[in-house]
């Protein structure tokens, strides 16, 4: 038992990325009403269709109730106590990074994501979202040469309203669920990616989100469209500063793939999870869904979830096109009083659609980590296949690991396989590694890394390194 106690000490590291950048922020009064929705829309100078979309969503939201089916416990959220719009006072567009507020750049430096570094050293275009409005977008010209559009949603609304009108809300309808409706009503900004027909995006696209203002719920909206034969890999990473009040994050991500298109969406999430008593921390209620509209299209979700007080997130794939493929690879680490209820939905509609689910949950402290998944095989999905695997690792005897896989099948010509197991870091394995001269801490880290390898292998190179760093961060420290 002593080994698991010290493993417990290991994972109880204070949040290293906790800090507040002191920048003037343009906020509106707290509270939510139809006027606020109109104000957000007018501040962003939006066309009528978008205002209508927001208002419709707001009206639907008013009629909805916060879902309570997940095994999550949190104090009631007062939606009137939140601020629904905050934009950093950075009115003019920057021609280069030199013009950006040095404090902002410093923030990114602290996060280990130096834009300038990345710009020079890696081939990654970064659309850094600081609070709600885009600050800098790089590599846009190079992408434009290939016809790729990578910009903030606000810009896309101005420059490509036809595309927004055609795709926004078609994957996650505004009345999909409580949080999606809230997001649809008040979303502030986010990213828009459009890959035209036949184009393989020449570089990996990346956005760093960051919550910075104490009472600002962040309502990001991401829309990625890959036309026939197009492909893109998109990376999303998050950190947030330490705060005492709980912050709500209700993002919506929509992916659309047409015939033969492919989208790979990777996330590393390390938001503030609250202290060891569960004070503070982000509530992360996210709706992520991909729609394989075209034949032979492909959507892959990879996520590494290590943060947030509460994670409520089910990246899903609707596999409509024949022979389309959906994938979900997830690592979720919870510690202290963190609660994660995450998983995926694979809805097989078209024939010969295939999906793979690999989920790895690590629970430590008094946290609770649930996998909740749905595999649904519709009556027309002949020859569909699904394989799901969810493994849990428990560290300490107070953490909970729950598994709730739903399987519904209406097609005899389909096959569904699900398996789940649970394990722990056992004393004899630790002893073995230590007897080979590997330090305790490193041994734990190695075993966790090994446990998660199936998922890390799916991450793009740079991200895999970051994910490894994140888990190591959670696991490093003095051994008791």
């Amino acid at each position: 038992m002593s080994s698991s106690t010290s493993v417990g000490d290991l994972v109880s590291q204070p949040y290293k990325y906790g800090f507040v950048t002191d920048i003037e922020t343009d906020k509106i009064d707290k509270g939510l009403s139809e006027d606020v929705v109109r104000l957000i829309s007018s501040k962003k100078d939006e066309p009528q269709f978008l205002l209508d979309f927001r208002l419709r969503a707001y009206k639907q939201w008013l009629r909805m109730e916060e879902p309570d089916w997940a095994t999550l416990g949190h104090p009631a959220i007062d939606y009137q106590e939140m601020i629904y719009y905050a934009a950093p006072r950075q009115q003019e567009k920057k021609a280069s990074l030199d013009e950006v507020d040095p404090k902002l750049l410093e923030t990114f430096e602290k996060l280990g994501i130096p834009l300038s570094e990345q710009k020079r050293l890696s081939n990654v275009a970064v659309d850094a979202v600081f609070d709600s409005v885009s600050i800098a977008t790089t590599y846009r010209e190079k992408l434009a040469e290939h016809g790729v559009i990578f910009c903030s949603i606000s810009e896309a609304v101005k420059d490509h309203p036809d595309l927004i009108e055609r795709y926004l809300g078609t994957v996650v309808p505004s009345n999909d669920n409580f949080f999606a409706a809230l997001n649809s009503a008040v979303f502030s900004d986010g990213s828009f990616v459009f890959i035209p027909k036949g184009v393989a995006c020449p570089m990996e696209l990346s956005t760093y989100f960051r919550i910075n203002s104490g009472d600002t719920g962040q309502f990001e909206r991401t829309l990625i469209v890959a036309e026939e034969g197009a492909s893109v890999s998109y990376l999303e990473g998050c950190t947030a500063p330490m705060f005492d009040t709980n912050q709500l994050h209700a993002a919506v991500v929509e992916l659309v793939t047409l015939d033969d298109a492919s989208i790979k969406y990777s996330t590393v999430q390390n938001w503030y999870a609250g202290d060891e008593n569960g004070v503070g921390g982000i509530y992360n209620f996210v709706t992520k869904r991909g729609h394989c509209r075209g034949d032979r299209s492909h959507i892959s979700w990879t996520q590494v979830e290590t943060g947030s007080a509460i994670t409520w997130k089910y990246p899903s794939c609707v596999l409509q096109g024949a022979d389309s493929v959906g994938e979900f690879y997830s690592v979720a680490l919870t510690n202290n009083l963190q609660q994660a209820d995450t998983g995926t939905k694979m809805v097989h509609v078209g024939p010969r659609t295939r999906s793979t689910i690999v989920s790895k949950g690590i629970s430590a402290g008094r946290s609770s980590n649930s996998y909740r998944g749905l595999v649904q095989i519709g009556p027309k999905a002949t020859g569909a296949r699904n394989y799901s695997q969810c493994d849990s690792m428990l560290i300490g005897d107070q953490a909970a690991a729950n598994t709730y896989p739903y399987i519904r099948s209406q097609q005899p010509e389909a096959s569904v396989e699900h398996e789940a197991s649970t394990c722990r870091i056992s004393a004899d394995q630790l002893f073995y590694l230590q007897s080979r001269g590997i330090g305790f801490e490193e041994a734990v880290s190695m075993m966790v890394s090994g446990f998660c390898r199936d998922v890390f292998n799916q991450l793009p190179m740079e991200f895999a390194a970051e994910a490894d760093k994140l888990l190591a961060l959670k696991l490093e420290g003095s051994v008791g």
């Binding site: 099948s409 396989e417 398996e419 789940a420």
Partner: protein, 421 residues
């Protein structure tokens, strides 16, 4: 507008549900007999709880329409059907006999009837331990069951105890209640046969308390004919080093729902659950099991098999709870489903909740049709496609059926299940 419409639809459904319960209660005779107090309680509870709805997570996949289509009334006594002779070494009790089911029968050595005081004390204890005394199907049984077969098992009982009950005819309600107390080191093998036909409703509640080192082998063969419905509930409390082997097979009911709930009160016990359910026609076969370990070193081996054919629908929900006290638990659960028709449907949902770190828990689920390579192999040996498919189906069923108590063979379960009788 849409919301308003669905609201009014659900309102009218709620009205229909409460009127079904009201009619059901009105048709019951006044509470009387040894279970009078229980009946009062059950009726009171039912009048407060209308039917479960699909908005409740536990009933999400279970459409109770076949049940509400029935207008069951308590049948005073049944008629014996043309049943096979009991197998050698089996003692048959006919539970719906007009008088005392034990009349003219002597119980095997090691089994005795519980006295009225003991029944009063013990009845409902295990249900409470399993947190299901207020569960709707249990209340339905409590409201209506006129008597309980309450047995104490104090030694190793050699003969198989066969309990037969039949609900035949339209509008018949057959509530069956059984209470088994197994003392330390006692052992009993029970085969329960539930038959149903016509628009009848069978409600079964079994409570069993397994003392230390005792063994209960319980087989349930539930064979119905649509539109008959079956609601069964098995609640078992296991003390350390006891063994429970429960096997159930069901087929033919318009709606069947079986709910085994097992609690290992101090761990260290062994539980084996095996099930086979077949749903064809428009049948709905549902199993909701729950196993809870309240102490260390418990073992669970669960296998649930289902075949859905035609427009049948099979539902499985298997919860396994491993709290902090249940270190070194070893639990495995497997749900295997055959989906044989385009219009059939399988819903399966294993649920694993673990708060202990030193445990081995695994679960698996598969849904598929018959394997093409297996079919091909048999055809290559000269069997026709239909014969090959039949053989594979039999093999699929046999794995569970052969675990039934030996006395089950007389009922020819395989032939009945596969409709070859």
């Amino acid at each position: 507008m849409v919301a308003a419409m669905s609201n009014s639809a659900s309102n009218s459904a709620a009205v229909a549900a409460s009127s079904w319960v009201t009619t059901f209660l009105e048709r019951l005779p006044a509470p009387a007999g040894e279970l009078e107090a229980v009946q009062w309680r059950g009726r009171e509870a039912l009048s407060r709880q209308p039917l479960p709805t699909r908005r409740q997570e536990d009933w999400r996949f279970t459409d109770l329409a076949p049940l509400t289509a029935l207008t069951p009334a308590l049948a005073p006594a049944g008629e014996q059907g043309s049943w096979p002779e009991p197998a050698a070494g089996a003692v048959r009790l006919w539970l719906d006999a007009p008088g005392d089911p034990l009349a003219g029968q002597s119980l095997p050595a090691g089994i005795s009837l519980l006295g009225a005081d003991e029944v009063q004390q013990a009845l409902g204890h295990t249900l409470a331990a399993c947190n299901c005394e207020q569960h709707w199907p249990v209340e339905l049984n409590q409201a209506s069951a006129p008597r309980v077969l309450a047995l104490r098992v104090s030694a190793v009982v050699a003969p198989i105890l066969e309990l037969v009950s039949q609900a035949a005819g339209d509008g018949v309600m057959r509530p069956v209640r059984v209470l088994l107390l197994l003392e330390e080191k006692a052992s009993l093998e029970v085969l329960q046969v539930q038959l149903g036909s016509g628009s009848s409703l069978t409600s079964l509640v079994i409570e069993a308390h397994l003392g230390r080192e005792s063994t209960l082998r319980h087989g349930l063969l539930a064979l119905g004919e649509s539109p008959a419905c079956f609601l069964g509930h098995l609640a078992v409390e296991q003390e350390p080093r006891s063994l429970l082997e429960s096997v159930w097979a069901s087929h033919g009911w318009a709606l069947s729902r079986f709910e085994p709930r097992v609690v290992q009160v101090d761990g260290e016990a062994t539980t084996s659950l095996k099930a086979l359910q077949l749903a064809d026609g428009q049948q709905l076969a549902d199993t909701h099991s729950r196993v809870e370990f309240r102490g260390p070193e418990g073992q669970l081996d669960q296998l649930h098999k289902a075949i859905a054919d035609d427009r049948g629908r099979s539902v499985f929900n298997g919860a396994v709870k491993v709290p902090r006290a249940a270190q070194r638990t070893n639990a495995s659960q497997l749900s295997r489903n055959l989906l044989l028709s385009n219009q059939a449907r399988i819903d399966t949902k294993p649920e694993l909740e673990i708060v202990a770190d030193d445990v081995r828990c695994a679960h698996g689920a598969t849904v598929s049709r018959l394997q093409t390579d297996e079919l091909f192999y048999l055809q290559s040996r000269g069997l026709s496609a239909a014969v090959a498919a039949g053989l594979l189906k039999r093999g699929f069923c046999e794995e569970v059926l052969r675990a039934l108590p030996a006395a089950a063979a007389a009922w020819r379960p395989l032939q009945r299940l596969l409709g070859e009788a």
